[in-house]
Amino acid sequence: MAAEVSLLAGYDAAITAAPTLAAVLSAIRADHAAHRAALDAELARRSPGRTAAPQPSSGTPAVRPPLAVPTPSPVAGPDAATTVQDLTATETANAAARSDDAIVAAAGPLAAVLGSVAASEAVHATVLATVLATVPATVPATVPATVPGPGTPP
Protein backbone atom coordinates (compact mmCIF):
# COMPACT_ATOMS: atom_id res chain seq x y z
CA MET A 1 0.00 0.00 0.00
CA ALA A 2 2.81 2.41 0.93
CA ALA A 3 4.48 1.64 -2.39
CA GLU A 4 1.32 2.60 -4.27
CA VAL A 5 0.97 5.86 -2.36
CA SER A 6 4.59 6.64 -3.07
CA LEU A 7 4.16 5.87 -6.76
CA LEU A 8 1.11 8.12 -6.98
CA ALA A 9 3.18 10.95 -5.58
CA GLY A 10 5.98 10.05 -7.96
CA TYR A 11 3.67 10.29 -10.97
CA ASP A 12 2.23 13.59 -9.74
CA ALA A 13 5.75 14.95 -9.60
CA ALA A 14 6.63 13.43 -12.95
CA ILE A 15 3.60 14.98 -14.65
CA THR A 16 4.77 18.31 -13.34
CA ALA A 17 8.34 17.70 -14.42
CA ALA A 18 7.47 16.31 -17.85
CA PRO A 19 4.18 17.85 -18.99
CA THR A 20 4.71 16.66 -22.56
CA LEU A 21 4.36 13.13 -21.25
CA ALA A 22 1.26 13.91 -19.18
CA ALA A 23 -1.07 11.70 -21.22
CA VAL A 24 0.86 8.48 -20.75
CA LEU A 25 1.90 9.29 -17.19
CA SER A 26 -1.69 10.12 -16.21
CA ALA A 27 -2.95 6.82 -17.63
CA ILE A 28 -0.40 4.92 -15.59
CA ARG A 29 -1.19 7.00 -12.53
CA ALA A 30 -4.84 6.02 -12.92
CA ASP A 31 -3.80 2.37 -12.84
CA HIS A 32 -1.96 2.97 -9.55
CA ALA A 33 -4.97 4.73 -8.08
CA ALA A 34 -7.01 1.63 -8.93
CA HIS A 35 -4.33 -0.57 -7.34
CA ARG A 36 -4.48 1.42 -4.14
CA ALA A 37 -8.28 1.20 -4.01
CA ALA A 38 -8.29 -2.55 -4.68
CA LEU A 39 -5.59 -3.29 -2.12
CA ASP A 40 -7.33 -1.07 0.40
CA ALA A 41 -10.62 -2.92 -0.16
CA GLU A 42 -8.94 -6.32 0.03
CA LEU A 43 -7.16 -5.45 3.26
CA ALA A 44 -10.34 -3.97 4.75
CA ARG A 45 -12.16 -7.21 3.98
CA ARG A 46 -9.54 -9.11 5.98
CA SER A 47 -9.35 -6.60 8.84
CA PRO A 48 -12.89 -5.83 10.03
CA GLY A 49 -11.77 -2.78 12.00
CA ARG A 50 -10.18 -1.22 8.96
CA THR A 51 -12.24 1.07 6.71
CA ALA A 52 -11.62 1.03 3.00
CA ALA A 53 -11.20 4.35 1.31
CA PRO A 54 -14.26 5.24 -0.80
CA GLN A 55 -12.63 4.55 -4.14
CA PRO A 56 -13.48 2.29 -7.08
CA SER A 57 -12.71 -1.38 -6.57
CA SER A 58 -10.75 -3.44 -9.03
CA GLY A 59 -14.01 -4.52 -10.61
CA THR A 60 -15.13 -0.98 -11.32
CA PRO A 61 -14.54 0.25 -14.85
CA ALA A 62 -11.27 2.10 -15.04
CA VAL A 63 -11.88 5.76 -15.57
CA ARG A 64 -9.05 7.84 -16.87
CA PRO A 65 -10.12 11.43 -16.41
CA PRO A 66 -7.74 14.10 -17.50
CA LEU A 67 -5.69 15.02 -14.49
CA ALA A 68 -5.17 18.55 -13.33
CA VAL A 69 -1.54 19.06 -14.12
CA PRO A 70 0.11 21.00 -11.30
CA THR A 71 1.79 24.26 -12.13
CA PRO A 72 5.43 23.66 -12.96
CA SER A 73 7.79 24.47 -10.16
CA PRO A 74 10.04 27.48 -10.73
CA VAL A 75 12.95 25.27 -9.74
CA ALA A 76 14.33 23.22 -12.58
CA GLY A 77 13.71 19.53 -11.92
CA PRO A 78 15.34 16.51 -13.45
CA ASP A 79 15.06 16.18 -17.20
CA ALA A 80 12.27 14.09 -18.68
CA ALA A 81 14.56 11.19 -19.49
CA THR A 82 15.79 10.95 -15.90
CA THR A 83 12.26 11.20 -14.58
CA VAL A 84 11.05 8.38 -16.81
CA GLN A 85 14.13 6.31 -16.05
CA ASP A 86 13.51 6.65 -12.32
CA LEU A 87 9.86 5.66 -12.70
CA THR A 88 10.83 2.68 -14.83
CA ALA A 89 13.23 1.46 -12.16
CA THR A 90 10.62 1.96 -9.44
CA GLU A 91 7.95 0.09 -11.41
CA THR A 92 10.34 -2.79 -12.02
CA ALA A 93 11.30 -3.01 -8.36
CA ASN A 94 7.68 -2.81 -7.24
CA ALA A 95 6.65 -5.52 -9.71
CA ALA A 96 9.23 -7.83 -8.14
CA ALA A 97 8.11 -6.98 -4.63
CA ARG A 98 4.42 -7.50 -5.40
CA SER A 99 5.26 -10.81 -7.08
CA ASP A 100 6.91 -11.98 -3.87
CA ASP A 101 3.88 -10.78 -1.92
CA ALA A 102 1.54 -12.70 -4.22
CA ILE A 103 3.46 -15.93 -3.73
CA VAL A 104 3.20 -15.81 0.06
CA ALA A 105 -0.26 -14.21 0.40
CA ALA A 106 -2.43 -16.22 2.76
CA ALA A 107 -5.66 -15.65 0.87
CA GLY A 108 -6.23 -16.60 -2.75
CA PRO A 109 -8.14 -13.42 -3.73
CA LEU A 110 -5.37 -11.26 -2.29
CA ALA A 111 -2.76 -13.29 -4.17
CA ALA A 112 -4.70 -12.70 -7.38
CA VAL A 113 -4.91 -8.94 -6.82
CA LEU A 114 -1.21 -8.74 -5.93
CA GLY A 115 -0.31 -10.79 -8.99
CA SER A 116 -2.32 -8.48 -11.22
CA VAL A 117 -0.74 -5.43 -9.63
CA ALA A 118 2.71 -6.92 -10.23
CA ALA A 119 1.82 -7.61 -13.86
CA SER A 120 0.46 -4.09 -14.29
CA GLU A 121 3.69 -2.64 -12.93
CA ALA A 122 5.74 -4.82 -15.26
CA VAL A 123 3.63 -3.46 -18.12
CA HIS A 124 4.20 0.09 -16.92
CA ALA A 125 7.95 -0.47 -16.95
CA THR A 126 7.68 -1.73 -20.53
CA VAL A 127 5.57 1.24 -21.63
CA LEU A 128 7.88 3.71 -19.89
CA ALA A 129 10.91 2.14 -21.55
CA THR A 130 9.18 2.69 -24.89
CA VAL A 131 8.49 6.30 -23.93
CA LEU A 132 12.08 6.74 -22.84
CA ALA A 133 13.28 5.84 -26.31
CA THR A 134 11.42 8.88 -27.64
CA VAL A 135 12.62 11.39 -25.03
CA PRO A 136 15.80 13.32 -25.80
CA ALA A 137 18.08 12.92 -22.79
CA THR A 138 19.48 16.43 -22.97
CA VAL A 139 16.23 18.41 -23.10
CA PRO A 140 14.94 19.51 -19.71
CA ALA A 141 11.36 18.48 -19.06
CA THR A 142 10.56 21.83 -17.50
CA VAL A 143 12.16 25.02 -18.62
CA PRO A 144 11.32 27.70 -16.08
CA ALA A 145 10.66 31.15 -17.52
CA THR A 146 13.61 32.59 -15.62
CA VAL A 147 16.12 30.13 -17.04
CA PRO A 148 17.27 30.35 -20.64
CA GLY A 149 16.17 27.37 -22.70
CA PRO A 150 18.45 25.23 -24.85
CA GLY A 151 19.95 27.27 -27.64
CA THR A 152 19.03 30.59 -26.04
CA PRO A 153 21.92 33.07 -26.16
CA PRO A 154 23.14 34.10 -22.70
Binding site: A27, A102, P109, G115, S116, A119, V123, T126
Partner: protein, 169 residues
Amino acid sequence: MTDVDVLQTLLATENAAAYGYGVLGGHLASAERTVASQAEDAHLARRDAVARLVRDRGVSPTPAAPGYVVPGPVADRTAALTLAARLEDGAAAAYRYGLAATPNADIRRLAVAALQDAAVRAVRWRLLLAPTAPATRPFPGEAFPGEPPSASPTPASASLTSAPAPPRS
Protein backbone atom coordinates in the same frame (compact mmCIF):
# COMPACT_ATOMS: atom_id res chain seq x y z
CA MET B 1 -10.03 -28.10 -6.92
CA THR B 2 -6.67 -29.80 -6.46
CA ASP B 3 -3.29 -28.44 -7.48
CA VAL B 4 -3.26 -30.94 -10.33
CA ASP B 5 -6.61 -29.60 -11.56
CA VAL B 6 -5.20 -26.08 -11.47
CA LEU B 7 -2.10 -27.14 -13.36
CA GLN B 8 -4.08 -29.03 -15.99
CA THR B 9 -6.16 -25.88 -16.54
CA LEU B 10 -2.99 -23.84 -17.03
CA LEU B 11 -1.65 -26.51 -19.36
CA ALA B 12 -4.79 -26.36 -21.49
CA THR B 13 -4.44 -22.59 -21.73
CA GLU B 14 -0.83 -22.83 -22.88
CA ASN B 15 -1.68 -25.43 -25.49
CA ALA B 16 -4.47 -23.23 -26.78
CA ALA B 17 -2.26 -20.13 -26.85
CA ALA B 18 0.49 -21.91 -28.77
CA TYR B 19 -2.07 -23.16 -31.28
CA GLY B 20 -3.49 -19.65 -31.65
CA TYR B 21 -0.13 -18.17 -32.53
CA GLY B 22 0.21 -20.77 -35.24
CA VAL B 23 -3.06 -19.57 -36.73
CA LEU B 24 -2.35 -15.85 -36.65
CA GLY B 25 1.32 -15.73 -37.62
CA GLY B 26 0.71 -15.83 -41.35
CA HIS B 27 -1.28 -12.59 -41.30
CA LEU B 28 1.35 -10.45 -39.62
CA ALA B 29 4.12 -8.30 -41.05
CA SER B 30 7.58 -9.82 -41.07
CA ALA B 31 8.87 -8.21 -37.87
CA GLU B 32 5.60 -8.97 -36.11
CA ARG B 33 5.84 -12.61 -37.18
CA THR B 34 9.18 -12.81 -35.40
CA VAL B 35 7.60 -11.45 -32.22
CA ALA B 36 4.70 -13.88 -32.60
CA SER B 37 7.13 -16.74 -33.03
CA GLN B 38 8.94 -15.72 -29.86
CA ALA B 39 5.63 -15.52 -28.02
CA GLU B 40 4.68 -18.98 -29.25
CA ASP B 41 8.04 -20.32 -28.04
CA ALA B 42 7.45 -18.68 -24.65
CA HIS B 43 4.06 -20.38 -24.34
CA LEU B 44 5.54 -23.73 -25.32
CA ALA B 45 8.28 -23.32 -22.71
CA ARG B 46 5.71 -22.42 -20.08
CA ARG B 47 3.60 -25.39 -21.15
CA ASP B 48 6.59 -27.64 -20.54
CA ALA B 49 7.18 -26.07 -17.12
CA VAL B 50 3.56 -26.64 -16.15
CA ALA B 51 3.70 -30.20 -17.45
CA ARG B 52 6.75 -30.86 -15.25
CA LEU B 53 4.80 -29.71 -12.20
CA VAL B 54 1.98 -32.08 -13.15
CA ARG B 55 4.40 -34.99 -13.55
CA ASP B 56 6.07 -34.09 -10.23
CA ARG B 57 2.71 -34.96 -8.67
CA GLY B 58 2.64 -38.39 -10.25
CA VAL B 59 0.05 -37.49 -12.86
CA SER B 60 0.27 -37.46 -16.65
CA PRO B 61 -0.20 -34.05 -18.27
CA THR B 62 -3.32 -33.83 -20.40
CA PRO B 63 -2.22 -33.67 -24.03
CA ALA B 64 -3.21 -30.82 -26.33
CA ALA B 65 -6.52 -31.09 -28.09
CA PRO B 66 -6.33 -32.18 -31.72
CA GLY B 67 -7.88 -28.89 -32.77
CA TYR B 68 -9.12 -25.57 -31.45
CA VAL B 69 -11.72 -23.09 -32.57
CA VAL B 70 -10.56 -19.48 -32.63
CA PRO B 71 -13.09 -16.84 -31.50
CA GLY B 72 -13.47 -15.32 -34.97
CA PRO B 73 -12.08 -15.37 -38.48
CA VAL B 74 -8.43 -14.39 -38.78
CA ALA B 75 -8.16 -13.01 -42.27
CA ASP B 76 -5.95 -9.97 -41.93
CA ARG B 77 -3.37 -8.21 -39.76
CA THR B 78 -5.93 -6.47 -37.55
CA ALA B 79 -7.70 -9.72 -36.76
CA ALA B 80 -4.36 -11.40 -36.11
CA LEU B 81 -3.22 -8.68 -33.71
CA THR B 82 -6.60 -8.75 -31.98
CA LEU B 83 -6.37 -12.49 -31.53
CA ALA B 84 -2.80 -12.22 -30.24
CA ALA B 85 -3.88 -9.72 -27.59
CA ARG B 86 -6.83 -11.93 -26.63
CA LEU B 87 -4.61 -14.98 -26.37
CA GLU B 88 -2.39 -13.15 -23.94
CA ASP B 89 -5.36 -11.75 -22.03
CA GLY B 90 -6.67 -15.29 -21.77
CA ALA B 91 -3.33 -16.56 -20.51
CA ALA B 92 -3.17 -13.73 -17.97
CA ALA B 93 -6.67 -14.65 -16.76
CA ALA B 94 -5.66 -18.28 -16.39
CA TYR B 95 -2.61 -17.47 -14.32
CA ARG B 96 -4.47 -14.97 -12.17
CA TYR B 97 -6.98 -17.71 -11.52
CA GLY B 98 -4.08 -20.05 -10.70
CA LEU B 99 -2.77 -17.60 -8.12
CA ALA B 100 -6.11 -17.52 -6.38
CA ALA B 101 -6.78 -21.22 -6.63
CA THR B 102 -3.80 -22.61 -4.73
CA PRO B 103 -1.48 -21.56 -1.91
CA ASN B 104 1.30 -23.76 -3.34
CA ALA B 105 4.40 -21.59 -3.68
CA ASP B 106 5.83 -23.40 -6.71
CA ILE B 107 2.62 -22.98 -8.68
CA ARG B 108 2.18 -19.39 -7.55
CA ARG B 109 5.78 -18.58 -8.48
CA LEU B 110 5.18 -19.88 -11.98
CA ALA B 111 1.78 -18.20 -12.18
CA VAL B 112 2.94 -14.75 -11.15
CA ALA B 113 5.81 -14.80 -13.66
CA ALA B 114 3.55 -16.07 -16.44
CA LEU B 115 0.89 -13.48 -15.62
CA GLN B 116 3.47 -10.72 -16.00
CA ASP B 117 4.82 -12.10 -19.26
CA ALA B 118 1.35 -12.44 -20.74
CA ALA B 119 0.38 -8.92 -19.64
CA VAL B 120 3.50 -7.44 -21.22
CA ARG B 121 2.96 -9.29 -24.49
CA ALA B 122 -0.72 -8.24 -24.51
CA VAL B 123 0.17 -4.58 -24.20
CA ARG B 124 2.73 -4.87 -26.99
CA TRP B 125 0.10 -6.34 -29.30
CA ARG B 126 -2.41 -3.67 -28.28
CA LEU B 127 0.10 -0.94 -29.02
CA LEU B 128 0.62 -2.36 -32.52
CA LEU B 129 -3.14 -2.55 -32.96
CA ALA B 130 -3.88 0.98 -31.76
CA PRO B 131 -0.75 2.96 -30.92
CA THR B 132 -2.61 5.95 -29.48
CA ALA B 133 -5.22 4.12 -27.40
CA PRO B 134 -4.64 3.50 -23.70
CA ALA B 135 -2.84 0.17 -23.71
CA THR B 136 -2.33 -0.51 -20.03
CA ARG B 137 -4.84 -2.26 -17.79
CA PRO B 138 -4.90 -1.80 -14.02
CA PHE B 139 -5.54 -5.49 -13.37
CA PRO B 140 -4.19 -7.80 -16.05
CA GLY B 141 -6.12 -11.06 -15.97
CA GLU B 142 -9.32 -9.31 -15.01
CA ALA B 143 -12.07 -8.38 -17.47
CA PHE B 144 -11.65 -4.86 -18.83
CA PRO B 145 -14.67 -2.69 -19.75
CA GLY B 146 -15.42 -2.78 -23.44
CA GLU B 147 -13.39 -5.89 -24.12
CA PRO B 148 -14.49 -9.51 -24.31
CA PRO B 149 -14.31 -11.13 -20.89
CA SER B 150 -11.16 -13.12 -20.36
CA ALA B 151 -10.94 -13.47 -16.58
CA SER B 152 -12.98 -16.61 -16.50
CA PRO B 153 -12.62 -19.42 -13.98
CA THR B 154 -12.38 -21.72 -17.00
CA PRO B 155 -9.55 -19.86 -18.67
CA ALA B 156 -8.92 -22.07 -21.65
CA SER B 157 -12.30 -21.19 -23.08
CA ALA B 158 -11.50 -17.51 -22.70
CA SER B 159 -8.83 -17.67 -25.36
CA LEU B 160 -9.65 -20.57 -27.56
CA THR B 161 -12.30 -23.22 -27.44
CA SER B 162 -11.20 -26.78 -27.60
CA ALA B 163 -13.00 -28.50 -30.43
CA PRO B 164 -14.07 -32.10 -30.27
CA ALA B 165 -11.74 -34.50 -31.96
CA PRO B 166 -12.77 -35.45 -35.46
CA PRO B 167 -14.29 -38.91 -35.67
CA ARG B 168 -11.79 -41.60 -36.55
CA SER B 169 -12.60 -43.42 -39.73
